[in-house]
Amino acid sequence: MSKKALLEQPATVPAAADGKARPARRAPQNLWFTVGPFAVFLALFALVAVLRPAFLTGGGMAILAVQAATILLVALGQAMVLHVGSIDLSNAAIVIFAAIVLAQTLGPIGPAAPVVTLAVVTLIGAVNGFLVAFGQIPSFALTLGTLGILQAASLVISNATTVYATANGQLLAPLFGTAFAGLPLAFWVGVLMAVGLWAFLRFTRAGEGMTAVGLNETGALFSGLRTRWFKVMAFALSGLLAGVAGILVIAQAGAASSFGLGSDLLLPGIAAAIVGGTAITGGITNPVNIVFGALTVALVPIGAAAVGVTPQAQSLVYGLVIIAAVALTMGRGHTEVVK
């Protein structure tokens, strides 16, 4: 560098400011990111298998997969939003909303009902994303607001009671009625979605654009990427996947209500995404690992019961799992401000 510099710019210390190879950005997370989720699941599974051998023989795996299926879908949606650096607090409310809409439309319009439901909730997700990206509303505040609106909407359209899917239930029956490799179809739907999202992030320009937004939004912006639309896309995907989870709720229970099955999916969803290796800072997500995240989260209550923790402690355990998982896996710089 020439010694002669203009007067204005702040002096940088040559060499010191720009050392050769700085510590790897992903390094501390690398191991966790690749095999961590699977290892955690395996360890917890082994623990349960040793303490409760009946779990293996008594078809426990199938029950686990049933419980993991909805968590997995919600977690995948959450992961896409986390991937662009935001958070979606409304996606569990979307599940319930979707389930109620589906329960009410399944009788009248039959096979079209799931399609309509998915279209509606995808649109809701997209509106979330639109307001975050173009209205520049912090995502946690916005989705807290839409959470309230969706809860009210669910109460209103269900008249605050349980809505039963009266007819055409057979359309959804195979989801939990048929099994591959001993696990219900619903679970494989989730796995398929996970693989699809993995391919989306890895092999498409839009997926890579979302990764860039999550890692460094300013940098992506200066590269002329459509950063705002990538955010809209992430939230729309979150809505869509929550809708699929809503379909599973109806397939499983045949009915939906504001406080019924699926109403407490928010935290398990976030926990599964994070245990699955998703960084809450954005840009680091492996959807396939979220499958193990979801299985782990579904196994937590069973594991907790196996070591003698009461089932009432479930949300306590989830809460601690989230805090611990984020605290352990977060890459943090010493200088940045964390709010």
């Binding site: 209205g135 912090p138 964390v338």
Partner: protein, 344 residues
């Protein structure tokens, strides 16, 4: 030299340079009276719509009664938001503290009766949970929204575990259960307690290091650090105060309910955050105040009450709070929109 805006909205005569100012005369936080006018307008509209029911002493008491919980929580929430963080754990802390209180005072299960110590224990639970949030946030550098989300459910879990699988613990009739709704000077005690919290909060925000540093940290953590403020310590304190407020609200809610329930706080999070934002406290931190939040709470409570009196289903209450929250944030951030602004 001309009149200067001293940040209070009250124009004060700037003192002559030779005479140092002697009066520290700004107790009032409003830069403008927009929020108060909105509240008055709201009251006028609902009075016109429900002339027989809205502006009656009974209904006003109901509004004040409903405003009590969010007012108390709003004090802590405002302080946290002033520093630029967020506390989502409100409902969980309320559940845990409320349950602790019910089980430690005279109740139908007869688990224990520690008298006033039950309140102390409940507040200690809140302080503990606030400290947990604050410590994880400041020491482990986990963003506040995710820590407090976790603590929300930790609190709910604690309440559920305490509840166990026995019968619902009811508070005995009469005695302390009646306290919140008893009238003193024609105003329910619950509201008087809330008013005391708001006044104390205003004092803290104005006259203590804790309050002033919360503003400073919200303005810029970097500069605050450069100015020698122990940023992390004060952020922790703020979370502890928020936990304390939520716990107090939890005890009050349990008294009003007359029984122990883990979900005693359901719905208060929205209402409070919406009230903070609509009152004019910025989610980015550094701007706003507790009195502003109080006005926001009264606005939202009056709005909900008026809608119900006008025949709107109570089911949409959370939608009202949610819409108001989104609209308030949108309006507050609109002037600052820029293509280069990064919003997470």
């Amino acid at each position: 030299m001309t009149d200067k805006d001293t940040g209070t909205g009250l124009l004060e005569q700037a003192p002559a340079p030779s005479q140092p100012p002697l009066r520290a005369g700004r107790r009032f936080e409003f830069k403008n009276l927009g929020e108060v006018l909105a509240l008055v307008g709201l009251i006028a509209v609902f009075t016109a719509l429900n002339p027989a029911t809205f502006l009656t002493p009974e209904n006003l008491r109901t509004i004040l009664d409903h405003a009590s919980l969010p007012l108390i929580i709003g004090v802590g929430a405002t302080l946290v938001i002033l520093t630029g963080s967020i506390d989502l754990s409100v409902e969980g802390v309320m559940g845990a503290a409320g349950m602790t209180f019910v089980l430690m005072t005279a109740n139908s299960r007869g688990s224990a009766d520690l008298g006033p110590w039950a309140i102390v224990a409940a507040l200690a639970v809140g302080v503990g949970l606030g400290m947990l949030s604050g410590l994880v946030h400041t020491r482990l550098k986990v963003p506040s929204f995710i820590v407090t989300l976790g603590v929300w459910f930790v609190g709910l879990g604690i309440a559920t575990v305490l509840f166990g699988d026995q019968s619902i613990p009811f508070l005995p009739d009469g005695g302390i259960k009646a306290w919140p709704s008893t009238l003193t000077f024609g105003v329910p005690n619950a509201f008087l307690l809330a008013a005391a919290f708001v006044l104390a909060g205003m004092f803290v925000a104005r006259f203590t290091r804790l309050g002033r540093f919360a503003y400073a940290i919200g303005d810029s953590e970097e500069i605050s650090k450069g100015n020698g403020i122990p940023v992390l310590r004060y952020k922790l304190y703020v979370f502890v105060v928020a936990g304390f407020c939520s716990a107090a609200a939890g005890v009050l809610a349990a008294l009003e309910l007359g029984a122990g329930s883990a979900t005693v706080g359901v719905g208060t999070l929205f209402l409070t955050i919406a009230a903070v934002v609509i009152g004019g406290t910025s989610l980015g931190g550094g701007k706003g105040g507790i009195l502003r939040t109080a006005v926001g709470v009264l606005m939202l409570t009056a709005l909900n009450n008026g809608l119900i009196l006008s025949g709107v289903s109570p089911n949409i209450q959370s939608a009202v709070s949610g819409t108001v929250l989104i609209a308030a944030v949108l309006v507050a951030t609109w002037p600052h929109r820029s293509r280069l602004r990064i919003v997470k």
